[in-house]
């Protein structure tokens, strides 16, 4: 087990070193990823300040949701970027994945560790900075419980996004051709979860609380951090349900990935 972990760490270190060969490019990519978060938040603050509130939430409280969602997405993408349809499709089409299967390592571990993308660290750190700024502006007094809720939100939402990515990669083994449809869930889901869930219609809210539980993982813990009452049907204690739900979601993603590999036939040479 420790030996296995060592292999993945070395693979990850090698992939980071490879990108670090072009330091300017690496720094630009990381800064750009952080800048996107800053710009998006700046735009939303400009707009919300004009209106004063949305669904009873003050701008700083909404920005907390943005921060949590960006941090989680960044965390998931640092490891899962290669699982995106277009990159997975390339691994399959070029026959690289044939080689992966012959290696004495788990295919998932190999793919994830070999293509760690530090760019998304920029997104993750900018997201975390957004959380700190938003809670300060919203006047949140940090307690161990609230900090735990923030960690829970980020970890669970990241696990859910990673689960979606695994399922999408499993799907790509079957279709070979890349389908960008999953991006709706990853980028669209992050955008949706960045606003308080009560502004959405019941169908959309149901899907993103119970089917792809990003709302459960971000909105409900945020209620606790802000000390707010949830709308009917979404009490604050549901936050603790996020962990088992996210774990189950990730397990389902893993099953889809395995099912995909069983259908993998290579693309010839």
């Amino acid at each position: 087990m420790a030996e296995q972990a060592g292999i993945y760490l070395r693979l990850a270190a090698a992939s980071v070193r490879a990108t670090a060969r072009r330091p300017v490019y690496l720094v630009a990519r990381t800064l750009a990823a952080a800048l996107i978060v800053a710009i998006e938040v700046a735009g939303v603050v400009l707009m919300l300040d004009r209106f004063g509130s949305i669904g009873g939430w003050r701008p700083a409280e909404v920005v907390l949701l943005f921060g949590l969602a960006f941090t989680a997405q960044g965390l998931a993408m640092v490891f899962g970027d290669t699982l995106e349809a277009d990159k997975m499709s390339e691994l399959v089409r070029r026959g690289t994945f044939d080689q992966v299967l012959t290696r004495p390592a788990s295919p998932l571990g190999w793919v994830v560790a070999s293509y760690v993308d530090t760019r998304f660290l920029g997104r993750m750190l900018a997201g975390a900075a957004t959380v700190v700024w938003a809670t300060d502006r919203a006047g949140v007094a940090w307690t161990p419980g609230r900090a735990l809720l923030a960690v829970l939100a980020v970890t669970c939402a990241a696990a859910i996004i990673f689960g979606v990515l695994m399922a999408s990669a499993g799907f790509t083994f079957v279709t070979v051709q890349a389908s960008e449809a999953v991006n709706v869930l990853i980028f669209g889901g992050q955008y949706l979860a960045s606003y308080p869930m009560q502004i959405y219609g019941s169908a959309l809210r149901f899907v993103f609380v119970w089917v792809i539980p990003l709302g459960l993982a971000i909105y409900v813990p945020a209620l606790g951090i802000l000390g707010r009452q949830g709308p009917p049907g979404l009490p604050g204690w549901l936050a603790w349900l996020a962990a088992p739900v996210a774990a189950a979601f990730m397990a389902l993603g893993g099953l889809a990935w395995r099912a995909g590999i069983r259908h993998y036939v290579g693309t010839g040479s």
């Binding site: 300017v24 490019y25 630009a28 990519r29 800064l31 750009a32 800048l35 996107i36 800053a38 710009i39 998006e40 700046a42 735009g43 939303v44 400009l46 707009m47 919300l48 004009r50 209106f51 949305i54 669904g55 051709q177 389908s179 960008e180 449809a181 991006n183 709706v184 669209g188 955008y191 949706l192 606003y195 502004i199 959405y200 219609g201 959309l204």
Partner: protein
């Protein structure tokens, strides 16, 4: 002229052949459109007008944004820069006719294809379901159509200038990755520029980013012919800039490899 029409047609057919990408693109636009619509409905629940926009204006903004997304931020953004870096672009300079016009004709074929297959269906369905503010007359709709095409032209012209940076530096990507988020905000793709603070708003109103999204939105919501005029002025200015850049770059073009 026939050659340019043929290029336009080729671009159109090339873009139209990506059916799966089209379906995924429409789904993405629909999803983001629905979320943005919910956001604006929630924002306007207790207010009629903010910064000169009411909810019908905001919804028109949302769906024009979704419709124009793939036109302005074309997925083939890097093609020109990569052709320049690899040296393939030399072929363009050797072909008969005018390289700038040829590139424009082909690119416009692709963007018009996106306008026909994505923008128009997206806007039509949205207008049937939601109370968007769109022109009620045929003349108004024609003006909106012209404004959308002009947005596609300006998009090409700006992308040409960004791509042309590859004539001077092979590391063009780093620069633009840092620039993109800023362009993204200032062109109104995050929130309408009407919500910007005064001085920033004035600055943006006089920039070539206005023709990309906000001009068509203003044509749709106010029937503003002035917005179309501004687009035309920018097309001319960017045309002259593009020609100047191409002429300068062609004189000093160095092709690597053999």
């Amino acid at each position: 002229m026939r050659a340019y029409l043929a290029l336009f047609r080729a671009g159109f057919l090339r873009q139209t052949s990506y059916r799966l990408a089209l379906a995924a693109g429409l789904a993405t636009n629909a999803f983001f459109g629905v979320v943005r619509t919910a956001v604006f409905y929630a924002l306007y629940r207790e207010r009629d007008q903010v910064a000169g926009l009411d909810v019908a204006d905001a919804l028109a903004y949302v769906w024009i944004l979704e419709g124009l997304f793939a036109v302005i931020w074309a997925p083939w953004f890097w093609e020109l820069a990569e052709a320049i870096r690899s040296g393939e672009f030399v072929v363009e300079l050797l072909r008969p006719g005018d390289p700038y016009l040829r590139l424009l004709a082909f690119d416009l074929g692709r963007t018009v294809s996106v306008l026909v297959t994505r923008t128009v269906p997206t806007l039509t369905v949205a207008a049937l379901v939601l109370p968007l503010r769109l022109p009620g007359t045929l003349g108004g709709l024609a003006l909106l159509g012209a404004s959308l095409v002009l947005a596609a032209v300006v998009s090409f012209q700006l992308r040409f200038l960004f791509g042309a940076a590859a004539f001077w530096t092979p590391d063009y990507r780093s620069l633009f990755m840092l620039l993109f988020p800023v362009l993204w905000l200032l062109s109104g793709f995050v929130v309408p520029v009407d919500f910007f603070p005064g001085p920033l708003r004035v600055l943006v109103d006089w920039s070539p980013l206005i023709p990309l999204l906000m001009a068509p939105v203003r044509v749709a919501t106010d029937g503003a012919a002035a917005a179309v005029a501004i687009q035309v002025v920018w097309v001319v200015l960017l045309w002259l800039t593009g020609r100047l850049v191409l002429a300068t770059a062609s004189r000093r073009l160095v092709v690597h490899g053999g």
